[in-house]
């Protein structure tokens, strides 16, 4: 197939650009430790409130500057709806939903996960600086969706 000279050059530059982007992305997840949520276990949405760790939602100090936040989402609120951790903490969010799809986004961070009944969402983030972050449900979950929020306070 004959391809015009300029078009060939354009297609080559385009291909190289995409490859460079992909390499950069691979670098962020392999070398910089930026991860997406993956498979982190399953629960029965009907019995989740009785099952550990979700039978006791809240913030747990694991020692050494590491914290675990166990979070339940339901229409239309988070339990707990306020998370307090010291600056510099490495915080692992472990969350699920007891009813419909919800989402969690901690503003100004890359803590951004879908919460799906039956599935456990898990991701870790280091809160370097003191301050307050808005925490919102970012997936439509019914008529009160826009009232489902909380906050993360870094002290």
């Amino acid at each position: 197939m004959k391809i015009e000279r300029y078009e060939k050059a354009f297609l080559a530059v385009g291909a190289v650009t995409l490859v460079v982007f992909l390499v950069a992305l691979a670098y962020t997840s392999v070398a910089m430790g930026i991860h997406l949520p993956g498979r982190a276990g399953e629960v029965d949405p009907a019995a989740v409130r009785e099952m550990p760790p979700f039978d006791d939602p809240g913030v747990r100090d694991l020692g050494g500057g590491r914290y675990e936040v166990v979070l339940l989402s339901q229409a239309w609120g988070f339990v707990p709806n306020e998370v307090r951790v010291p600056a510099g903490s490495e915080v692992t969010f472990i969350a699920t939903s007891v009813d419909v799809l919800h989402g969690i986004h901690v503003d100004g961070t890359r803590v951004n996960m879908m919460l799906i009944p039956g599935q456990v969402s898990r991701n870790t983030y280091v809160f370097e600086n003191p301050g307050e972050h808005l925490l919102v449900c970012h997936e439509y979950c019914g008529i009160g969706h826009h009232t489902m929020s909380g906050r993360v306070v870094v002290e």
């Binding site: 354009f10 997840s29 399953e42 799809l101 989402g103 996960m113």
Partner: protein, 554 residues
Amino acid sequence: MSAIVADPTGYEMDAGRRRDIRWTIYIGYFALFAGVSHGFAQALSYAGIDILRFFPFLRGYYQGLTAHGVANALFFTFAFSNGFLPLLTARALGRQLNSALLKASLWTLVAANILVIYAVTTNRASVLYTSYAPLQAHWTYYLGLVLLVVSSYIAAAHLFVLLAGWKKEKTGERIPLLAFISIATYAMWILASLGVAISFIGFLLPWSLGILERTDPLLNRTLFWFTGHAIVYVWLLPAYISWYALVPRQVGGRIISDPLTRLVFVMFLLLSVPTGFHHQYTDPGISTQMKAFHALLTFGVFYPSLATAFSVVASLEMGGRARGGGGVLGWIRTLPWGDASVVAQILAMLTFVLGGITGLINASFTVNQVVHNTAWIPGHFHMTVGSAVALTLMGVAYWLIPYLSDRKLWGPKVALAQAWIYTIGVLIFARGMISGGLEGMPRRTFLAEANYTKDSWGLAGALTGIGGTLMTIGALLFFVVILMTVWTGRKGEGPKDIPFGDTLLPASKAGWDVKLDRLGLWFLAAAVLVVIAYGPFFVSYLPARLTSPGFTLF
């Protein structure tokens, strides 16, 4: 140089067929009107203004948001394509459309509309167009959407019937380009639609009827996005068909390369479907390796769009030069800037550059965590489906409706203003949404009534409201032009044929690119790729976890 249709000299179509195509497309415009009306209220909500209480009906924000998505993204796009693609294919092959199939597709679409309108207007289906279980809609909603898909299958079958008839007579000849790219589009849709077909018919519909008591939220969401990314290409490719095959003629240029155009559409057939996990990067229950693989393939499906950017602009440049434009950029000035059909589509292309770039950012694996489900996302897709597609289909309408009704276009200057106003509107709107999204402003949220806000959302929301208002004005002017054309346009003065172009580099009679025509083979290859990309997930996940009862929280 060669034509992209079998017989360039002319084509006859009777009044009945014209009417059936016209009404199929009118249903799309009706849906667009309904969707745009509510879009206006949503844009204003971002600016903190609630006008919903003044609405005669559809007063619920999420009820209206459901209507907006279903009407604009599903009914508008499919109604248009169900009319447009059979017309282009029949014209390209020089064959008569099958009246029975046209009518079947039209009436199925009407039935789909009635069911969905009933479910949405009575607030029995405020689940948004993504229909995520376990929010549960009334069965009429699921059945209506199934019928919408059936109407698109009938249109697809129509294309295959036309092609089979043509092949019987012209054994061994190359499929005319215009027919090939139209058929490739709906062939891809057949494969892509499997996800929602299984989800809606196998799970959601029986669940809404009480036959299944519980359902699997992650599985249904995954099946939705199996279809959900490819579906955006089903919306987009009819616009690409116009950019590749029709706009060159409208500006006096040529299609650059027949084989490269075919290759681009074959790439879309191959790569559109196995990319759905990039909508689920932040989901639990799906391994990060599978997500990474889909990220790679998503970058792959970006490539044919890059090739399109070159070809389409090169065709414009040829046109501009043929019209006397010289120098490096002088050809831009000499393009037909007074022709609303062309201008709407050029503006659609320009907006799509931003739509494409933001799309690549969304697809960028870890970066997605910054933007997922923020207002950035609707900022992005209003520059793809909301303008690249919508504006192009408006531009196409400016010759298509006059052609189908044999009437002169009413108010070409109004049409021209419409295209500009809509484009300026969408750019301001998207600027607002995108900056808001980066500041954590969520999408799909009734912000005017939310119990939280941030100072930095003020400007973003205001721009969204201003842009959305301009978009609404632009869209309303479009309906004025179409209605006035249909009612008062001068009879007998419509265009006599569709504006198909010819190619600089024609299809070859021999060589490897003849194999591009083997759509069946490419379809099979695409299916294999889907098995590779989705197989590991389904094998490790199934059987379905039927754990969630239905919730109607609206």
